[in-house]
Symmetry: C2
Subunit: 446 residues, 2 copies
């Protein structure tokens, strides 16, 4: 009996992280970390889990998009789907009617990515491997076959990608051993949320260093005088040897970003993240020219590989911040990792929210083993939020992510949590207006 | 009694234009021209109509987004809303949770645009003027107040915009008279759909010239030999004095586009439209450098003003093709018109589909009267499709759009058509598998 996809279940899951909003500011009110969640089930009883991270309102729109795309997966042969998720990615992104709503951006693209990721989760479970290891076991030819090069060839051809993957293929086993033994570098955003008082900021900075982090991140962009004071406190707390990145969450136009960063330069910020609109490739390039040696980082809102291509072509970024749930899934992130490697720019994934750490660690670790072949100047963002809801949560030791060993993409949320936080009818939304203990560690922006 | 918005009704309306698909090709299967339609109603019985053009599957996702955004309009004071639709546009686009699903792109942005346009329709009806005339009657200061400059100031500041609007303010009344007397230039895509046989292509080209059009457009990108032959036929049919634009609908990567256009150059194409991904600003710039003097045109899929800004900054386009339903409504299109005027690039709006001609004519005419002050090298696309469903359809005479005179934005679809084509339960979808006579004139791509 041929195994087929028998159902695609979707769910709107929201964690009421905005209830305790002490310390928020007007530019970044608190999100309700949420997910448009999906489970593929097969006729043989296997499962593939996926999620699209969202921040509250609008999750229902992504769920609607998942439901609209589900017929393109339903009834498909599992063997065929999992052997070539790239074919599914092309079908989802290329649908000639739904494509009008993108193309390759926003709600429909995020939903396509959720489905593609769920198929990879299913594929990795069937292979009995964590996703990073499944990907790292594919040949250069197989990996190249998973990428859509149509709009990328002026920067990266199939031959370029093959050559690049073959160059690092020799060291794969050694790096895999190294990864399993030592994990992968993390950085922490815990100390730096806007609204923490100075004492708490200083204490959290010192704690981060003591916990083994070599890079911390502070939110900026609310008020310049506050940012200057906070960055000074952080720099004094961590000393000159620890890197401090700053993150403006898109609040500035290009001239504002340049002016503001000149004031923060004395504190030696390592990178400025999202200084302006994520769509503004040329703006990022202008900012980078003006604020160097401070690095420019972006990517969590960069909606597809064509945009990453241009950020690299224009010399607009020093740090590529992939996100597991923004683009069209593992396949498009593979394209982005290849582009970054081609241009020699390090990838430091965006994470946090709910599930982003769990998912994106697989991509960074695969990058280390089989694409860039390096972890220098690279680190995955880490925020200590909501991991307790995951069946296979991330594990952090001494400022590093331990390599996952459970088969899959680590996307599965525990059934109890799904039931409790289902929106709008789960008991966490109907039974209480107070935030449940332990559901979140408090204030944050994505 | 204060007049307020009392309801926001939404509707999924689809015209089964894909049923007669003889002549389609694999790259551009036929769309079902559709709309996520909305009606604002006020406590005083007034209405504002809006629509987001779509091409079939996925319309339900845009409807879901409209419903999610509707609470931001419901209950609002009509006087306040219509006096400053820009404030609503900022609220819709800036919602800190829904923004995660863009920002300013895809489904949520198109839905925001639909709501903003419906408010402008309501405002124009209340003012007793067609929208173009309402806009053309606003002062330079009022117009500038309707634009969000946050991400635009490296290319266009408030002062730049004011100066520009003041320069052309003197000639407004003369141009308004001219517009009412002579209309605004149109171009036609009717002859050029892929799949027409050579005889029909030649005949339609001759007919277009006879009907007064000075610019026609042909679809290309299916097969190079076919394109060379078809373009030759068209050129011989219209003679050297009529402009022939070609449209690739995004099928090429950058190197393909350059190679292909070199083969078509002998037939003197006026512009190449959508040669590659709409997101590829640098790709368009590279193509433009390579294919000149052939012009590069794009915009129907350009998702926001930040992208248009970059197309202009990078010297990537000769022709800006605004679309009434892609970006965040009239306000963002005002920003785009100002950017184009600032860079001296003509605007030739994208239209066709269902309702796009009706809506966008107001923006082009307003541009002529109050922004660029010129109609040189400008024309609005015209396709003779589905206009019969509109309460105030466009009127074409001798290759020109006549200026609308009915108050509003011409977005209203007749109640009978809404009922008949409602998806999936309208009689046109439930009673017949055959396309009804008169519902469409046949094959087309958007």
């Amino acid at each position: 009996m041929t195994e087929r996809i028998s159902s695609v279940d979707t769910l709107d899951v929201r964690f009421p992280t905005s209830r305790h909003r002490d310390g928020s500011d007007a530019m970044n009110p608190f999100p309700d970390y949420s997910a448009a969640y999906l489970v593929l089930r097969t006729t043989a009883g296997a499962e593939g889990h996926g999620l699209v991270f969202t921040v509250g309102r609008g999750t229902e729109i992504v769920v609607a998009a998942l439901r609209s795309l589900a017929p393109m997966v339903l009834g498909r042969r599992v063997e065929e789907l999992t052997a070539d998720p790239g074919a599914l990615a092309r079908r989802l992104v290329g649908d000639s009617q739904i494509r009008w709503l993108g193309p390759e951006k926003g709600v429909v693209h995020m939903a396509a990515g959720g489905l593609v990721n769920a198929v990879w989760d299913l594929a990795a479970r069937r292979a009995g491997k964590p996703l990073w290891q499944l990907l790292a076991g594919l040949s250069p030819e197989e990996l190249v076959g998973q990428v859509d090069f149509r709009y990328l060839r002026d920067a990266l051809t199939e031959d370029d990608a093959l050559a690049l993957l073959r160059t690092v293929a020799a060291g794969r086993s050694e790096r895999e051993r190294q990864l399993l033994a030592q994990g992968y570098p993390a950085y922490t955003t815990t100390p730096g949320w806007l609204g923490y008082d100075d004492e708490k900021l200083a204490r959290l900075c010192r704690e981060a260093v003591a916990a083994g982090y070599g890079l911390i991140k502070l939110k900026v962009g609310g008020n310049l005088a506050d940012d200057v004071r906070r960055l000074g406190i952080a720099r004094r707390a961590v000393g000159p040897g620890v890197r401090i990145a700053v993150d403006a969450n898109q609040v500035w136009g290009v001239p504002d970003a340049i002016r503001w960063m000149r004031e923060l330069a004395p504190f030696d910020p390592y990178w400025i993240e999202e200084p302006t609109s994520p769509d503004d490739v040329l703006g990022h390039a202008a900012i980078r020219r003006a604020v160097g040696p401070v690095r420019v980082a972006t990517g969590e809102h960069t909606h597809n590989a064509v945009m990453f291509k241009q950020l690299l072509q224009a010399g607009a970024v020093d740090v590529v911040q992939i996100d597991a749930c923004r683009v069209g899934g593992v396949n498009e992130n593979l394209a982005i990792l290849l582009l970054a490697a081609r241009y020699g720019v390090p990838v430091c994934p965006h994470a946090g929210g709910v599930g982003l750490c769990e998912l994106v660690q697989h991509l960074a670790m695969f990058d280390f083993v089989a694409v860039s072949g390096s972890s220098d100047d690279r680190a995955i963002e880490y925020v200590d939020h909501l991991h307790e809801h995951f069946v296979d949560p991330v594990r952090i030791r001494r400022g590093r992510y331990l390599a996952p060993t459970v088969p899959g993409m680590s996307a599965e949320i525990a059934a109890g949590s799904l039931a409790a936080y289902r929106f709008p009818d789960g008991p966490q939304w109907t039974d209480s207006v107070e935030e449940p203990a332990g559901a979140t560690s408090g204030r944050s922006g994505p």
